[in-house]
Symmetry: D2
Subunit: 266 residues, 4 copies
């Protein structure tokens, strides 16, 4: 029997791609869309219609549940909507898989309490790319042996923030596997401010922004006489789909909160 999924954020590009992926998998199916408007209409290939083509749209979880059996809520909405959606899902016995970033620490804590109360699984993953998560995990493991690390993340020049969230998360994971220490020559002379990048416990992060680029990151780990480079290139949002399907299939088997795709990957 297929896992029944409701998608919040289904009209967006990530939502459309996710619905395609859920339909394509032999383990999952979409039963409805949760939206803040268009209740009563249908959604087909990203377009809303009133001819009953595609999946039905609901504006409340209660109404949705009274018409459909649902196992999992996939939320790819925005920071404003996600928290209520997850609370609603948990209170209706629906397991959330959350790809929306922007949940505050307090909100995650509240979700954690709800998960313990209801004893149903919930997965929150800031990054659904299995490749990116492998890069981060490997970097943390390798830093145990090759403790001098620099991160170069490269994105298109319309990106607003630097460093990227993935670079910061990578650095955080590496911090747990190596002691903080000075890198580079102790008497280093920097003649142009910023040349040596941002510093986190001695690790350096460099952010490249150029037209043409998509989303790329390299982690460089140096040892005496050798260099290990872990690089991830993200070319298309399709790269998030295997991580989403993996999470949907995993969440139905668990009764706890998982924060980060890395815990689902050996």
């Amino acid at each position: 029997m297929k896992i029944k999924v409701v998608v919040a954020g289904a009209r967006g590009r990530m939502g459309s791609t996710a619905i395609e992926a859920i339909e394509k998998s032999s383990h999952t199916e979409t039963v409805a869309a949760l939206d803040y408007k268009y209740g009563g209409l249908h959604l087909h290939k990203g377009t809303v219609n009133n001819e009953g083509i595609g999946i039905p749209i609901y504006t409340s979880m209660s109404e949705l549940m009274s018409n459909h059996a649902v196992d999992v809520l996939l939320d790819v909405t925005d920071p404003d909507a996600v928290f209520n959606n997850v609370q609603d899902a948990l209170s209706h016995g629906v397991r959330p898989v959350v790809g929306t970033s922007g949940l505050s620490r307090r909100q995650v804590d509240e979700i954690s309490v709800l998960v313990e109360t209801y004893r149903i699984g919930c997965i929150i993953a800031p990054n659904f790319s299995i490749g990116a998560v492998l890069m981060m995990k490997f970097a943390a493991q390798a830093a145990h042996y090759l403790g001098d690390v620099e991160i170069i993340e490269m994105h298109h020049d319309r990106k607003l923030d630097a460093p990227s969230g993935t670079a910061l998360k990578t650095a955080e994971m590496i911090q747990h596997s190596r002691p903080a220490h000075l890198q580079g020559h102790p008497d280093e002379q920097v003649h142009l401010q910023g040349a040596r990048g941002a510093d986190i416990d001695g690790m350096k992060i460099h952010s490249v922004r150029l037209p043409g680029l998509l989303a790329h990151q390299q982690v460089l780990l140096g040892g005496e006489g050798e260099l290990l480079t872990l690089r991830h290139d993200s070319f298309d949002r399709k790269s998030f789909m295997p991580g989403i399907i993996l999470s949907i299939r995993n969440v139905v088997t668990r009764e706890d909160l998982v924060y980060g795709l890395e815990y689902l990957i050996d």
Copy 2:
């Protein structure tokens, strides 16, 4: 108390570098060199002398053992000498750490029997570079999720064999974590023979040989919309030293045979 090490192959470049590394570590010390000639002389910084400077040279393990307490034999000799050295060491209760490649499967089997008989540890590692071993381990893990793989190994143009031993070993490790399958377009048309590289179960291996290069390898793992690249650059034989020290420290704690540095690394 420091681990007492005897080095076979001490006059070579790898041996000299290893002696330096063993002396530098606070956990290990060199007590003697095992050689097929120069018995009775001494070795200092790669040069043999009869003035008693450096470590004493012996041509037999028995004689060596009658003069020194020894914990570990580090063998960096050649395919002709290594097998006898290891047998001698095991029969004298000395734990071998073998960096020499070229042991046949039959020889390794015989060593395995001896190790079980004497119940003392032995480590054989075709590649002592921790960075290279991490690359191979990570590649095998990642291939579980990103199953389409190509390996590009790049070496100086004086290298005789292609593909490299490390590339073949990497492919072998990946074979265990993904099913064999056709890669590329099923109707692929190759207009110039060899363009698509060597094939192992669908995986492709490409060998680049150019003046200037040292020893480099990339493993490329592709998934829908993303690419994970694991790259190792070996610039200097010093990169083997941490793996050698790790093995020496590890072998004294064990009673079995380990084939491959990867089993010592989490």
Copy 3:
């Protein structure tokens, strides 16, 4: 005054992107589309309509010319249509810029004769990416000094042919700047067929095909103790637009045939 352009192949993805780019440039404008059907209708954002929105569609150059002043024909059709379109354009005094590949040598020769007869410019460019052309030009220049070369081209796994056209063109350009010679160790032993790639005059070409990849190429040039790598990544067909605009602006100033964007770039 803007250069007046008619686009053949305007309904395709390349054509749509080109029309946008031509409209965006302050030097060019689109006046009509040349098509084999839909004559009398209009084209707007890739969609044909009969409401007169967008540019008018014509099925013959004569009729088109009787209604519009035209300077340049941009042809991004297919191997079947391109030759007639170019002949028609030249005979009507319209300068062709051809991005369609697949013209035979004989057809190019015939076009060359027409160009000489009419004394009006024509540009045929198999690759309109300025970045790719720079890579090829630089590779040819550098091979004069660093004569040992290997090419690694990497594409998505739906690509049918190997090596890529760009790799073959690059090799051809390099052939003119270095003497053919054996690369690698003269006694090289290849244990797995194909490992050393395809061979052109000693140069090696390696074709990587993986899901996730788009279109990428590296040219590696080795010298004693050093390596020069020229890499081009093509992420989007928008990368062809600057080359198309450059060609349109250039063709109106000339009276000869140019084959290859490299001749327009210093």
Copy 4:
């Protein structure tokens, strides 16, 4: 007839390698070493001897010239010695090829005056690696078309200064071929100081320092939908030898001052 070369700085590692290269070339030969000490002794494979083996050492150019015909002085000394050596050479009609860095602008100006007075050639090259110079030239040419540029230079962690001299020189050459302009998003928010690197006219420079690295640089040039990367890896000082031989052969044909190997390369 071979070009007769005297080497200053002959006892250093660069000097020794240069003497080997000069001897190996069929166009050049070494006739003597200019040194501040060891006058009257000989130099062979980097070692001074009083048995007359190798090339004779002189402490003054006058004395050297009274015993040998000399065409070219190769200076690979240090910032303290180089200026006097060059002045001496010019006044004796010997053409200098200078690989020592650290000449001040004023000193170069004075040398320029001397060169004009004596009308004999002089070549000063801060970087004799042809590969590195090609990378810089190509970067400057490409920036004309792909005007958004970032430089990533990577060196071992014993390097004192950042950014590297080569990175600064590359940026300077690029400045001449593109207008200064803001790169990245105009509203960019940098959450960790230094993440976006050092800034030169909008261009960014990132300096990576890790154990294991040697000397590497990448220039990334981005355009809409594409990226061009020019990378140079310097693995060994042998990479400077072709540039030194090229300069020696070139300087004997000229009567002016050339500053930078790039002017000798097409």
